[in-house]
Amino acid sequence: MLPLEEIQRKKQTRYVLIFIIFAAMLVVIFLFSVALGSVQIRVMDVVKIVFQQEGLDFIQSSIVRDIRLPRALAAVVGGAALSMAGLLLQIYFQNPIVDPFVLGVSSGAALMVGIVTLTGTRFGITSQSTSVIFVAAMTGSMVVMAIITGVAAKVKNIIMLLVIGLMVGYLGGAVISILVTFAEKENIRNFVVWSMGSFAGFTWNRVTLLTLTTVPVLLAVFLVSKQLNALLMGERYAQSMGVQIKRIRLLVVVLSSLLTGMVTAYAGPVAFIGLAVPHMARLLFGTTDNRVLIPAVIVIGGMITAACDLLARLLFAPVELPISAVTSFIGAPIVIYLLTRRTSL
């Protein structure tokens, strides 16, 4: 065996080991987030309920089945989707300090959802309609993404990009506050709860829709991992190695806005997950190889988001925090650290 092969094989073994550890942690946190709460349920019972065993306490099993299980699942799938969107954007912009939230893609989705839910009843749209919100969020994230990529083609400076993302966020906020001023009280309450970000509102309907749309997108991302790797060397090198650059660019933009839109539709804007998780994955696995990072980001993203959701519920129980309050405490320091460490932006 060649020395290089030996080194690579050792690395692969390490990747698999770390992956197994985090997958196990994901399962544990998932079980805990179903078990813990105002009604404590034993982990063994949770497992039994999940596997549909009869003869258990009716109240407990309905709490698990109807409330906590969809919520925990949504946090895992949503977290994985947001983290993947972050990874894609970081590759696309050749920059570690971007994610859907920072770039204002989430704000775009929030704005569209705001428009629909705050004014919708006047046009006869029931504001809580699952598919309407879904389409609105998707449209919003796509539009902002198109603007950002258009600007990025001209402006290469990343600080500019971040500032533009912030401004898009403020603009969206301004439009929303105008809408809120004139909206009906009931709609405002729903919207405000949604806009602070939470996985609380997930019904089985929504979780199913989220999962059915997220999983194919994640698979699609994995299928282009080789192209994404080539993009790490910059577009010119990628092109010289045979990457069809226009196609992959379009794909990355579409896939990342799909992932962001889908999560934001029901969970609201969730801060910094998309930024922090890819970094954690790179640090923990010690590689930039997307064939390793993509599964890693899915597992770590799911785990971290589920953990943050659990913390949001438990820290000041029975009062529940918005999830962004928890994720910001992880994400914002990472952004500051990265900004100060980078000398050339």
Binding site: P96, L232, R236
Partner: protein, 407 residues
């Protein structure tokens, strides 16, 4: 057999032509150097050849096939590039970068088989960079990075490597090494190379054909030895003030300083003294040099006044008289420590004359030897050029010039 041909190609960005009428041909195992000042459009030509930029007009043919009709994969198996982009986000290792070179050869997930590993191992050995494989790319020096890029290009197993300014940012050691590797690629593997350079000497030394790119057009194309003459260099770089030496491939800025010193040179001993004086703004007057002497060329290109003898001729009496005239006009004479032979022994006589008429004489020979050769007089024996310069206080030189001028 030519790998690349273009005819009437116009290259540029967004329909704006940067360089028009590019007609080139690169044969197998040939190195084509694009030479020209920064911003002349060399990079634009290279990007167009590499298929990274669509031509404004015309077409690039790779082995006779139009580049625009080749699939990305076929193109990538023919050509690899070394660009000027030098840092990437993240902590990619050298191995990661090298492995990318297999991109057009591997399956959908880029799985590396034994053959791929063998190719990577060989490529990194070719550039003598095996010790770098496990390092983080961003931590390497510019020279090491350039090696890695070249190895990555080799891993792609191309017929042609396109290199943009490969010698920029490199120190001399890495420049020499790069030229050695290029020669190896060409001679052992038959790989063709097209590269852009702005240093004339490197272009002359490593390319089979040189294309001069300046002012938005091709100023010439041909064998570097035939093509690159003083006129072309002036035209290319707009440095009509400087003199270009076609033998040494060097550019020198001639001085217009006051002539204060007569240097007795020979066999290259004068050159370092000319350069040192030139930097201090002191004009050069030198002799007696045969026209085949190294010092003769340098002194001429520095704009000095040279009292010379025909090549391979003994110094004749009339030439000696001319030199004496020059020495008499100047306050200082420097003996460079030239080798003494049958054809130039009159130079010794010249130094003795300077001492006789009371000029200040600096010699780079040992004191004892000076006494033997010249006897006594106003002679300062110096150990090196710095020592000599330190004996030249600025004020006193000027004063003595004034005196000399009044005489």
């Amino acid at each position: 057999m030519s790998i690349v041909t273009t005819s009437n190609l116009c290259v540029g960005y967004d329909k704006k032509t940067v360089v028009a009428q590019v007609n080139l041909q690169i044969r197998a195992g040939e190195v084509l150097g694009l030479l020209g000042p920064n911003g002349a459009g060399k990079t634009t030509i290279l990007r167009t050849i590499a298929g990274l930029l669509p031509p404004v007009l015309g077409e690039v043919y790779i082995k006779g096939h139009p580049l625009s009709q080749l699939s990305e994969q076929v193109r990538a198996r023919m050509m690899a590039v070394v660009l000027t982009d030098r840092s990437f986000q993240g902590q990619m290792t050298v191995f990661d970068i090298l492995a990318m070179g297999r991109y057009p050869h591997t399956n959908m997930f880029g799985r590396l088989r034994r053959r791929d590993m063998q190719i990577i191992t060989d490529a990194v050995e070719t550039v003598s960079g095996s010790h770098l494989v496990e390092r983080t790319f961003n931590e390497l020096s510019d020279g090491e990075k350039q090696k890695v890029f070249l190895a990555r290009a080799l891993v792609q197993e191309p017929k042609l490597i396109v290199m943009d300014e490969p010698t920029a940012f490199l120190d001399i050691q890495h420049k020499v090494e790069l030229m050695r590797i290029l020669a190896k690629l060409r001679n052992e593997k038959g790989i063709s190379v097209v590269l852009s350079l702005h240093e004339i000497d490197i272009a002359m030394k490593c390319s089979n054909t040189v294309m001069l790119v300046g002012d938005g057009r091709i100023l010439g194309c041909g064998h570097p030895e035939d093509l690159v003459k003083e006129k072309e260099v002036h035209q290319l770089y707009h440095v009509s003030g400087a003199t270009y030496d076609e033998i040494f491939c060097t550019l020198e800025e001639p001085d217009n300083g006051l002539q204060q010193v007569f240097v007795v040179g020979g066999a290259g001993k004068g050159t370092p003294i000319y350069r040192a004086l030139r930097k201090r703004g002191v004009g050069i007057c030198t002799g007696i040099l045969q026209e085949n002497d190294l010092d003769y060329r340098v002194a001429k290109s520095l704009g000095g006044t040279v009292c010379s003898e025909l090549a391979y001729e003994d110094i004749r009496q009339e030439t000696y008289e001319k030199a004496v005239g020059m020495v008499n006009r100047l306050p200082i004479l420097v003996d460079s420590g030239f080798p003494i032979g049958r054809s130039n022994h009159l130079n010794l006589e010249l130094i003795r004359h300077a001492l006789r008429v009371g000029k200040t004489v600096f010699s780079l020979r040992e004191r004892k030897l000076c006494q033997q050769l010249y006897g006594w007089g106003k002679l300062v024996s110096c150990v090196d050029i710095a020592d000599m310069i330190s004996h030249f206080p600025h004020g006193s030189i000027e004063k003595s010039i004034n005196v000399a001028n009044y005489n």
